[in-house]
């Protein structure tokens, strides 16, 4: 858990330090203290309502309806569950009795875990993919992944010869997919921590990929412990849907959405879950207020040491894009455009084009980020512009 992104960063810091504040630099201490952006929910008491809050039951109903539309049907759930159970059983067999497995492939399985939206209960309809992470005791060579896939698939076929199974290797050899007619199980391969530093990029899977798979396990564990509230799951589904429909939200990873939803619902003075309508709006408000902009404290990753702000996985350009999309959508929402935002009406052009709501013209925003000009490295306060070189993120879905 220590040596994932945190470590990479630490090394970077370590490399920077010697050329950083030397004796001549001492007084120029730049303590960068990221600050949380303005959050209406957290300072409600400073803003007593002038008039009672508008009735939002229609909005709430729309949100719930959208969630119902997005949730997988019982049949879909059963199909995924079925396939997952079978594959899990095969893998368990391989753990218990590696003998026959060893004969053909020399990798050994340490552990098998379900992760991702399937595990978290945030699956969306029409996307019947469950994720499983396999931790190998051995070093994950591309051949091992291939052989494992073959082996699992063969075992499955031998159990139920009549079932049509398709085995596909995932890009970058990160694992493989086994699908039947109704569902898909994605098996992501990684290895135990001790092996991570023995990797050879020529032979083995990319270390970042392996780490992201390990992170996925931590994420699902964290989720289980902290974010099991159903409102959170509903909100995550809505946010994922939003991300799918508005291009500007593309850079937000599923993990960021999970954390954002959790933050929006539970991080309030009363520590009681906010209702879904407030929480949904709050997500947009937070993003619009720059929660995921440079200089903001953002949300620090609960699964990584060393206070890593999750949004730093996005490039600066992406941070700008996410923020401006949220800003435009927030204005549309406050002028009553929730149906368009939820995708019940209209299309996603509201985020990028001018629209009119009840006589009010809502214009789209322009990007603010500019590529910095080539400049000498003397510029010292790069403290809060720390994100653009760390595009790695866990993609557990």
């Amino acid at each position: 858990m220590v040596m994932t992104r945190g470590r990479g960063r630490g090394m970077r810091g370590g490399m920077m330090r010697p050329m950083g504040p030397g004796p001549h630099f001492g007084p120029k201490m730049k303590q960068f203290v990221p600050r949380l952006p303005f959050d209406m929910v957290l300072c409600e008491s400073a803003f007593p309502r002038v008039k009672p809050a508008p009735d939002e039951s229609a909005f709430t109903q729309a949100l719930l309806k959208r969630n119902a539309d997005l949730s997988p049907t019982p049949a879909e759930q059963a199909a995924v569950l079925n396939l997952v159970t079978k594959i899990q059983a095969v893998m368990d067999n391989l753990i218990v009795d590696p003998g026959n497995f060893d004969a053909c492939v020399s990798s050994q399985i340490e552990e098998v875990r379900q992760v991702g939206s399937y595990k978290k209960g945030t699956m969306m309809t029409g996307h019947n993919v469950a994720d499983i992470v396999v931790i190998l005791k051995t070093l994950p060579t591309k051949e091992a992944v291939e052989a494992l896939g073959k082996k699992v698939c063969d075992d499955l076929r031998s159990q139920e010869p009549q079932e049509v199974l398709v085995l596909t290797m995932l890009p970058n050899d990160r694992g493989f997919e086994i699908s039947n007619s109704e569902a898909t199980v994605r098996v992501l391969v990684t290895t135990i921590h001790q092996n991570l530093r023995k990797l050879d990029p020529e032979l083995h899977l990319d270390q970042k990929i392996l780490q992201s798979h390990l992170a996925a396990i931590r994420h699902s564990r964290w989720f289980e412990e902290n974010a099991h509230h159903s409102t959170i799951k509903v909100l995550i589904r809505l946010l994922r849907d939003l991300r799918g429909r508005f291009e500007g939200f593309e850079p937000l990873s599923p993990w960021m959405l999970d954390l954002l939803a959790h933050y929006a619902i539970l991080n309030n003075p009363s520590r009681q879950a906010l209702p879904i309508n407030s929480a949904f709006r709050r997500c947009l408000q937070l993003l619009a207020a720059g929660l995921f902009l440079p200089g903001s404290a953002g949300i620090s990753d609960p699964c990584e040491g060393g206070n890593i702000r999750v949004h730093t996985a996005m490039t600066l350009e992406q941070q700008d894009l996410v923020c401006l999309t949220a800003q435009t959508l927030l204005r549309v929402l406050s002028h009553g455009g929730y149906k368009q935002i939820l995708g019940l009406e209209g299309n996603s052009s509201i985020a990028s084009e001018m629209s009119v709501w009840d006589g009010v013209v809502v214009s789209a925003l322009e990007k603010a980020y500019e590529k910095p000009p080539e400049r000498p490295p003397q510029d010292d306060d790069t403290d809060n512009m720390d994100a653009d070189d760390d595009p790695m993120e866990t993609t557990d879905n």
Partner: protein, 751 residues
């Protein structure tokens, strides 16, 4: 044909029949004579010299050390000069090489040591061995047994004799035609068995089959193999098998596939060296870590020190702030926690010494912009002068009116006064009214500063300030005229040398005092009375009192606005003045509202209220840059949009949104603009928001734009190590600081 003798030891083969050099293992050497004796009777030619015996002796150049033959004299010479040969030669001279392995098998003929039985078998089958055998046959040299010689750990050297005997046997059959003469020496096999078994037992299961690719030719026949782990190729399936059991392969496999695979250790000299090197490096690394940790601690300490110092400076800044704006109330004392240790480096520092080290780029921009929009001293002086003159003159007008009206007032006043005292509970303005009533009842009870003047929000170029005159009764047109008539006289008394122009603006319930000079400053004096609002607050009575209104009473709304302005000024002094960075941000936003048309509709009261709420709700001290950003964050998150709680006006009795004059479109536009501004700030383009040029990082900057703050910058010790001495004018304190700094640095270095 002739041969040149290159070295003493490397003789062409025909010259060394009798003295075989100390070529190989000692065991071999001892047998040299034996061979000779066995060979003699078997020589077919019967000649004395061997080299002449083979059919084409002149073409055979055999190096006994390396056991190879060369095609011609030239190549032979080259071989002798080659690296490989020299190495072998040296090795031969040095005596038998100690076995690196626990036990290994040796092919005497080729002088090759194999690590296992399989390897040995492969060698015997191999082309190289066959070639040597052939060569030896050609030369009529003895061919040792194919049975391996076990060397090393078991110290068995006896087999050499066996080899010799067999060799003798085979060589007798002639050098030319012997073909499959590699018969085994059966007798000695038993001896070997144990050793072989030993080696066999160590043999392990082949690993990593899946990493060996089969390379096929066009017909699909496997022609060779490629091990992906070790990056080597072999043609022979046997070689493949061997490779998979081989130590090198296993090591690769352990490294690349299964770290748990057990590979026996082979502590060769080189490896030991590597190990030692590793250990040494590890120690070095540990050492480095320790040092780095120390440095980190030191740095942390230093950071703490600077943080403390910054805080201290901020407090100083705050005090300085209060000093420079004496019109405002002193506000709460600086937020210095009582237990905070005073930074030890400036013990005698006067607390009022102005200093400030703006830390972030945003802060520097905000401060620079603020310095730019803040009025110049002359401007402030001019405004101060006209305002105080007007105030004095109004006081005298009040006195004059009181004198004139005295008898008349006494009839009306008691009633009004009584009414007021009963009804105006909790009213802000009450106190002022009461204070004045100690004297004779007056028509004009007092004059108050409101608006930007009272709040200290004057910006450069502001020429319009507001005063409010509180009247004892509802102000009427008549009263306004009387004041306007009398005021010039009093102004002439107060300021004889200045000329003022006075205009009545009845519809505004005000008169305007303007100075005559190159800089026109106008003071709006609005007449109002608390009674106007009391009437409003008590709806029930309003009908009654309204009926009693004099016919020429001034515009009611204007009077109410003036009262509100009075309350706003009081609120501002109570709330915003004491809040760090708040006034500065409000000034910056005031400038923004004047500069950018989109922001124009945002009235200043709503803006001030919003800034105060937003900055105060942060719950922590904010630097000017952070405070400004937070205001934009609040707007960006929809503070002004429909559906938000709104800005509840604390100075009104009924819940009113201070921003209510804004239309939906204006709210939308301001929000969109703030959203863009926020991102500009986040992406380091705050200068675009502020409408100024970007400020380069301050490292090499002295003075310049910051002239007003030059002293502050220098006194912070920023870059003092090299440049502090330039500014000797700041006196002892700075120098002392420098000393401290450099001492600290030195300490750090010596550590």
């Amino acid at each position: 044909y002739t041969f040149e003798f290159h070295t003493a030891t490397a003789l062409p083969v025909y010259m060394q029949q009798t003295s075989q050099p100390a070529a190989t293992v000692a065991a071999v050497k001892t047998t040299g004579n034996t061979w000779q004796t066995f060979k003699k009777p078997g020589t077919m030619q019967g000649k004395t010299q061997k080299p002449k015996a083979p059919p084409k002796p002149q073409q055979l150049h055999y190096c006994d050390v390396c056991k190879i033959s060369c095609a011609g004299p030239q190549t032979y010479r080259e071989h002798l000069e080659g690296q490989k040969h020299k190495k072998k030669e040296a090795a031969a001279k040095a005596g038998p090489t100690p076995s690196r392995h626990g036990a290994s098998l040796r092919c005497e003929l080729c002088d090759v040591t194999c690590t296992g039985a399989d390897a040995y078998a492969a060698h015997i089958r191999g082309a190289k061995h066959q070639k040597v055998v052939k060569l030896h046959q050609k030369l009529g040299k003895p061919i040792p047994s194919t049975d391996p010689v076990v060397v090393g750990g078991t110290t068995k050297t006896s087999t050499t004799t066996a080899g010799a005997t067999v060799g003798a046997k085979t060589t007798t059959s002639g050098a030319a035609a012997t073909t499959g003469t590699l018969t085994a020496a059966d007798g000695k096999k038993d001896d070997l068995k144990d050793d072989l078994l030993d080696l066999k037992e160590k043999d392990v299961e082949p690993v990593g089959q899946e990493y060996i690719e089969e390379i096929k030719n066009e017909e699909g026949k496997v022609i060779s193999f490629n091990c992906k782990l070790c990056e080597c190729r072999f043609n022979d399936p046997n070689a493949k098998e061997m490779h998979m059991k081989g130590r090198r392969h296993r090591l690769q496999y352990k490294k690349k596939v299964n770290p748990e695979l057990v590979v026996e250790v082979k502590p060769s000299l080189r490896q030991r060296k590597v190990q030692e090197e590793k250990l040494r490096r590890q120690q070095l690394r540990e050492e480095m870590w320790r040092r780095r940790e120390e440095e980190r601690l030191l740095e942390e300490e230093e950071r703490w020190y600077w943080e403390e110092r910054r805080r201290y400076e901020e407090e100083c800044e705050y005090l300085d702030w209060c000093r420079r704006y004496p019109r405002g109330p002193p506000g709460p004392p600086p937020m210095m926690p009582p237990g905070m240790p005073r930074p030890p480096f400036m013990p005698g520092m006067p607390p009022m010494m102005p200093m400030r080290r703006p830390d972030s780029s945003d802060d520097r921009h905000v401060l620079a912009k603020h310095a730019e929009i803040y009025p110049k001293e002359e401007e402030l002086g001019a405004i101060q002068k006209i305002v105080s003159n007007t105030e004095k003159a109004l006081k005298m007008v009040s006195d004059y009116l009181a004198e004139v009206d005295a008898p008349k007032e006494q009839q009306v006043k008691p009633k009004a006064k009584k009414e007021k005292e009963d009804d105006s509970k909790g009213e802000d303005d009450k106190k002022d009214g009461e204070k004045k009533e100690d004297g004779p009842p007056r028509m004009l009870k007092g004059v108050m500063r409101v608006g930007i003047l009272a709040k200290g929000l004057l910006l450069r170029g502001d020429t319009n300030v507001q005063l409010v005159v509180l009247c004892g009764d509802k102000p009427t047109r008549t009263l306004l005229d009387r004041v306007a008539d009398n005021l010039p006289k009093q102004l002439a008394v107060v300021a004889m040398e200045d000329k003022y122009d006075i205009q009545r603006v009845v519809e505004e319930a005000a008169l305007v005092v303007q100075n005559i000079g190159e800089q026109r400053i106008s003071v709006n004096v609005t007449l109002t009375s608390p009674i106007m609002r009391e009437q409003l607050l008590h709806d029930g009575d309003s009908q009654v009192i309204a009926a009693k209104d004099p016919p020429d009473v001034l515009d009611k709304q204007k009077c109410l606005d003036a009262l509100a302005a009075l309350r706003h000024a009081k609120w501002f002094q109570a709330r915003a003045n004491g809040l760090q960075s708040c006034v500065m941000v409000i000034r910056i936003l005031r400038d923004l509202c004047q500069r950018v048309p989109t922001w124009g509709p945002l009235n200043s009261w709503a803006m001030e209220l919003m800034c105060e709420k937003v900055i105060a709700s942060a719950g922590q001290h904010l630097s000017p840059g952070d405070a400004l950003r937070r205001v934009f964050e609040a707007l960006a998150s929809g503070l002004l949009l429909p559906g938000s709680p709104g800005l509840l006006d604390p100075c009104e009795k009924d819940p009113i949104d201070a921003a209510s004059p804004l239309s939906a479109q204006e709210r939308e536009d301001i929000t969109a603009s703030a959203q863009h501004a926020l991102r500009l700030i986040a992406f380091r383009q705050i200068h675009k928001v502020l409408g100024m040029d970007p400020i380069p990082p301050p490292k090499f900057q002295r003075g310049g734009r910051f002239t007003r703050k030059r002293r502050r910058d220098n006194s912070t010790g920023e870059g003092n190590d090299s440049e502090g001495e330039l500014d000797g004018g700041d006196g002892k304190k700075d120098k002392k600081e420098d000393g401290e700094d450099s001492k600290m640095d030195m300490d750090k270095e010596t550590k």
